[in-house]
């Protein structure tokens, strides 16, 4: 299992915009480089991408939570 960390501080989003479905559900498979969330820093939106293929086991943050640099965001099962 691996944990994906936030590369920057800001606000974490699980959806592309408020009315949309989440990028990825817990339990769903992901490819390397697949977007699994956004981090907004100073009004810039940065994509958070899976660094390995696997299954998203659980998110450690809620949609729209504040996030610190280096904080654990999501767990992946390879």
């Amino acid at each position: 299992m691996r944990t994906l960390k936030a590369p920057m501080p800001g606000v974490f989003y699980r959806r592309p915009s408020p009315g949309d479905p989440v990028f990825v559900e817990e339990g769903a498979p992901v490819e390397v480089g697949q977007t699994i969330g956004l981090i907004e820093v100073m009004k810039n939106f940065n994509q958070l991408k899976a660094d390995a293929a696997g299954t998203v086991t659980r998110f450690l943050l809620e949609d729209e939570d504040e996030v610190m640099i280096g904080q654990d965001v999501v767990e992946l099962e390879e």
């Binding site: 800001g10 606000v11 820093v41 729209e64 504040e66």
Partner: protein
């Protein structure tokens, strides 16, 4: 100013402090609202009262109409000043403030909504006899294609509900227009809640020039001359000056007059900015009106002596403007450097962090608008603007020389800022001559 006694400031950072100063100078009580991230910000302590309205994320604090209106009612405020950004141009916010029995420091929700729809605003400008950039006021793709064929390519596809440089796509020919249009419309629906897009001829080598207006509830409308805002990167302003070096003296009053006509046409009240594009032949075209105080308002204050925020407060209290048009004169020149916590050497990447060292410039004509002190943290949650360096002189040459010196004195350590870019820019011959346009800076950065 009897009808107002307490003003709630629905903003943060340097503009919250700017508004607070104007309120106190007029004898008004202030209440600032703050998020968790701004809990220890020094300006919060200057307010008569401070109310915590939510967590750091702006969506749950400075963008929460409900939290702000509730705070205003709880503290017994009479008025709400929205500043710029956040909720300042949301008609629904102004309406919620009014419905709560409070005064919104700005125009009516109806005027905000009209001007917020850029296609409607174009129509109103035409009705006021103000020239607009050739194009459409909305309508389907076929209308856009027909209009583009008439006005000539390249054209810009713009979101009617957009503004502030967002929601814009360029098309070089009909194929690109047919390709860009549906995506632009869909993007507009997602980003702004309205799929309406319109088409404008793209003016090349144009200047972005804007006129400051002030209006009261007694039918007085005045202008405070123009500002030059062509130094932009990705449609975000980096450096502004007043007056515009591109506006010929004989055209200056014609331009200002057009802005006043539009403000009158829509029944405008409070401070507002009418934006124009100025082409190489010196012809000007309306693009949009900003229904709020502007980031770069201090350069206008520097060259006219008008305290724009104080006038907004007087107007909100029901008083007449304290300036007559004939008393507002243009004296000298002023330059604003927007110091953003962004790294110009890394594609302007945001650079939040702690300010480990802060040394501010001074001397004649130097004004620094910032809410930061040494040791403060530039938070990742909000806009990257950390300081406005506003420098004026008896003429443009003196303003430039003073800006050069002020930038040399300025030290901000701990975060990357655009100050290094400003230091380079201020020594560029084209800038010194005032010879630049809206695409110039991006070309310069690509050199």
């Amino acid at each position: 100013m009897s009808p107002l006694s307490t003003v709630l400031i629905a903003n943060r950072g340097e503009i919250a402090l700017r508004i607070l100063r104007a309120c106190h100078q007029l004898g008004l009580r202030t209440v600032v609202v703050y998020s968790t991230a701004d809990r220890d910000a020094p300006y919060v302590r200057h307010a008569d009262q401070a109310v915590h309205i939510g967590p750091s994320a702006a969506g749950k604090s400075y963008l929460s109409t409900e939290a702000i209106v509730r705070a205003a009612r709880e503290v017994g405020a009479d008025a709400v000043h929205p500043g710029y950004g956040f909720l300042s141009e949301r008609a629904s916010f102004a309406e919620a403030v009014r419905d709560a029995g409070l005064t919104f420091v700005g125009p009516s929700p109806e005027v905000i909504a009209e001007m917020g729809d850029k296609a409607v605003a174009r129509g109103l400008a035409e009705r006021a006899g103000v020239p607009t950039v050739p194009g459409t006021q909305g309508g389907p793709l076929d209308d856009a294609v027909a209009a583009a064929a008439t006005v000539g390519y390249p054209v810009l596809v713009k979101a009617a509900a957009g503004g502030g440089g967002r929601g814009i796509r360029q098309a070089e020919d009909e194929n690109e227009l047919r390709e860009a249009f549906p995506g632009a419309s869909q993007e507009a629906a997602t980003a702004f809640g309205d799929p309406t897009v319109y088409v404008e001829k793209q003016l090349l080598r144009a200047r972005h020039v804007e006129v400051q207006v002030l209006a009261d509830t007694h039918g007085n409308v005045v202008h405070c001359f123009d500002r030059e805002c062509s130094l932009q990167r990705r449609r975000q302003k980096i450096l502004e000056e007043a007056p515009s070096p591109a506006v010929a003296p004989e055209c200056r009053l014609e331009l200002a007059g057009a802005a006043v006509r539009l403000a009158r046409e829509v029944g405008y009240v409070s401070a507002g900015t009418v934006e124009f594009l100025l082409d190489e032949d010196g012809k000007f075209y309306f693009i949009e009106m900003n229904t709020r105080i502007q980031v770069e308002h201090p350069i206008t204050e520097a060259v006219t002596g008008v305290d724009l925020v104080a006038e907004q407060l007087r107007v909100a209290a029901g008083d007449s403007l304290s300036w007559r048009q004939e008393d507002i004169t243009l004296r000298g020149a002023a330059i604003e450097c927007r110091i953003n916590a962004e790294d110009p050497s890394a594609d302007f990447a945001p650079s939040p962090g702690q300010i480990t060292r802060l040394e501010l410039p001074g001397g004649p004509g130097v004004r620094v608008d910032t809410a930061l002190s040494q040791g403060d943290v530039v938070s990742p949650y909000y806009d990257s603007l950390v300081m406005k360096l506003v420098v004026s002189g008896r003429d443009r040459a003196e303003a430039l020389a003073r800006t050069r010196q002020a930038l040399q004195e300025l030290t901000i350590d701990g975060v990357a800022t655009t100050a290094d870019l400003h230091r380079r820019l201020i020594n560029e011959p084209e800038l010194a001559r005032g010879d630049y346009h809206t695409s110039w800076l991006e070309g310069y950065l690509a050199r």
